[in-house]
């Protein structure tokens, strides 16, 4: 069992942020084509590219990515709810039914953002072997965005899923109805304020029973 803890793999070395010219070029070309609709981007060198666009430029961004960058492959589309869960992380709960905490400040991820809900789509270029993630902010009062079906027909089901899970409306989507849940289901499960009732009734036992590796001291 000694091999479980090796000494020769040193992972603490700080990786310098390396410049990534290909991804910089992609971001620049998107920014040129979208003009004011382009908000900002974030690059992790040699790894990935995030771009945030305005809500009105959502379909334009997809078209530009397909035609200018060669991202023919439609990977997926979804949304993120940045609201910190009002129920806390249930598994950390030591008491039965923890009182809802005061909401932590919302903190958006890479490429920033201002709103609670963000659309995310992932596109990939099979010739360049590079992908990018495009995000767009959705204002709380008006959770709607244009559909991508005209650009990528495969977006159809993904948008139905996002509509069901987050309650985001897709303008001009021909067939927006439930994809997973039965019709009488109420609520949007992937919103952070949707409670998992089974957990409210029967609490998670907590993290007390974490098993330690052999020979490891309890800190």
């Amino acid at each position: 069992m000694t091999q479980l803890s090796s000494t020769d793999t040193d992972t603490s070395a700080e990786a310098e942020p390396q410049p990534d010219e290909r991804r910089e070029a992609w971001a620049a070309r998107l920014a040129d084509s979208l003009g004011n609709g382009y908000a900002e981007h974030h690059i992790i060198g040699g790894s990935d590219l995030w771009v945030r666009v305005a809500r009105d430029s959502w379909t334009d961004a997809a078209t530009a990515a397909r035609d200018l960058l060669g991202c023919q492959f439609f990977d997926w589309l979804s949304a993120i709810d940045w609201l910190p869960s009002p129920f806390g992380r249930d598994m950390d709960a030591q008491e039965d039914n923890p009182e809802p905490k005061a909401a932590d400040p919302m903190e958006q991820g890479h490429a920033g953002g201002e709103t609670r809900f963000q659309m995310v789509m992932r596109l990939y270029s099979i010739t360049e072997h590079m992908g990018l993630t495009i995000k767009a902010d959705l204002p709380d009062g008006d959770l709607s965005i244009d559909t991508l079906i005209g650009v990528y027909p495969g977006a159809d089901w993904h948008e139905r899923e996002a509509w069901e899970m987050f309650g985001i409306h897709f303008n001009n989507h021909p067939d927006l109805r439930n994809i997973y849940l039965p019709g009488e289901f109420e609520g949007n499960p992937l919103r952070k304020d949707f409670p998992l009732l089974a957990r409210r009734v029967k609490p998670w036992p907590g993290i007390v029973d974490v098993e330690l590796f052999p020979g490891e001291e309890d800190s």
Binding site: Q3, S6, D8, A15, D81, R89, M91, Y152, Y180
Partner: protein, 392 residues
């Protein structure tokens, strides 16, 4: 059979679908009929329901209805720790369970800036390819069953057991290994395993040969699959088809070769198989070749397995630093990826699961316009989906 060039064959396939489209517009008054297949039907191997509106023997419109197996993975991942999430995601594509863990673990490792030691990466890749064998061998048999040939499925269940035995010997689980850890693997290989696996690889190649003899030369099989369900490359890409479904449409793209991220496929000598036709036959053919290629890959990896530890140094209680990462790998069913958003907690803040079958099956309404009812079964079988992978 007369020899037909690939270009010509593809052209013929197109003509066939065009003609099917045209026939729909013929002015014959027939009573429309709605055919409901599923939600429990052998042909959908799982709980997919297909509602097809028919005109005579032809499908005017087919719509898959899923959600009969929706378990809410993305929500459950919000309230679980990283090790608990790996237990869950085993069950997405239950035929190739180990392969489900790999992209998630790689994404978490990317966020933690941990790298698995070389031996762990190699064993990971071996198990990754073994789960491909376990998964696709069942498809190879099942496709025959959908078309009326019972024997292949018994062969598949017979020979698949050998692969499952090998997976079980390493991980302790036939189906759901839960063996991958952030920073490496739970354990090393057991004694004698490498030699046994070599024997199993020979068995699997024999299995492929048997099926090739049984099905590929079979006139009925060819008649039922050639030119049925043609998906051109551009359509396949815009629907996000991946894996063998995409390569059967002539797109030469494989994540294992082009974007290896953490696995060792780039150090092996192997070939990406493509087929220009894009029909059901091509999809079967590509998968058969891939199975064979996987056995060769595993043999190479068994030969070149490096020594050393199988686990990097990671803390006991894993907290992943804040950030976002998307890692996708070429799983048995196609590209599977996890978009992990972390806020520095014990568990992820949001996990978006990109499962291959969801995209693969979303093309069915497009491809099923104008086909005959028996072809519905062929197309569904050849697109090859796992319900857990669609519904998540």
């Amino acid at each position: 059979m007369t020899a037909v060039g690939t270009d010509q064959r593809q052209q013929l396939a197109y003509v066939a679908t065009q003609a099917a489209d045209a026939r729909l517009n013929v002015e014959i008054e027939t009573e429309g009929m709605t055919l409901n297949i599923g939600p429990q039907h052998p042909a959908t191997h799982g709980t997919l329901r297909l509602v097809a509106r028919l005109d005579g023997e032809q499908v005017v419109e087919a719509e898959p209805i899923m959600g009969y197996l929706h378990r809410g993975y993305e929500k459950l991942a919000d309230v679980r720790t990283y090790p608990q999430v790996t237990t869950l995601i085993n069950r997405i594509d239950w035929l190739g369970s180990f392969a489900n863990e790999v992209p998630f673990i790689l994404a978490a490792e990317q966020l933690m800036e941990v790298e698995a030691p070389p031996r762990a990466a190699w064993i990971r890749t071996i198990l990754f390819e073994l789960s491909r064998l376990a998964n696709i061998s069942l498809f190879l048999g099942d496709m025959g069953m959908q078309l009326g040939a019972i024997t292949p499925v018994f062969f598949a269940f017979r020979d698949r057991e050998f692969v499952l035995n090998q997976i079980e010997a390493v991980t302790g689980g036939r189906f759901h290994p839960n063996f991958d850890r952030i920073g490496g693997l739970k354990d090393d290989l057991p004694k004698g395993w490498i030699d046994e696996t070599r024997g199993v690889m020979v068995k699997m190649r024999n299995f492929c040969d048997e099926l090739e003899d049984l099905l590929l030369g079979n006139e009925i099989f060819e008649a039922r699959t050639r030119g049925v369900g043609v998906i051109p490359a551009d359509v396949a890409l815009s629907y996000g088809l991946s894996g063998a479904n995409l390569r059967a449409s002539g797109v030469d793209w494989d994540m294992r070769r082009d974007n290896p991220c953490g696995l060792v496929h780039d150090q092996l000598d192997w070939k990406v198989w493509t087929h220009p036709d894009g029909d059901s036959f091509a999809r079967y053919w590509v998968r058969l070749q891939e199975t064979r290629e996987a056995t060769h890959m595993i043999e190479q990896m068994l030969d070149g397995l490096p020594g050393g530890p199988v686990m990097a140094k990671v803390p006991v209680i894993i907290k992943v630093p804040a950030g976002e990462a998307y890692v996708a790998t070429e799983n048995p069913l196609g590209v599977m990826g996890y978009y992990v958003v972390s806020k520095g907690d014990l568990g992820p803040f949001r996990v978006k699961i990109r499962s291959a079958s969801f995209n693969n099956i979303s093309v069915t309404p497009w491809v099923m316009r104008g086909v005959y009812v028996p072809d519905v079964i062929t197309i569904l079988a050849s697109l090859y989906f796992i319900l857990g992978d669609i519904d998540r």
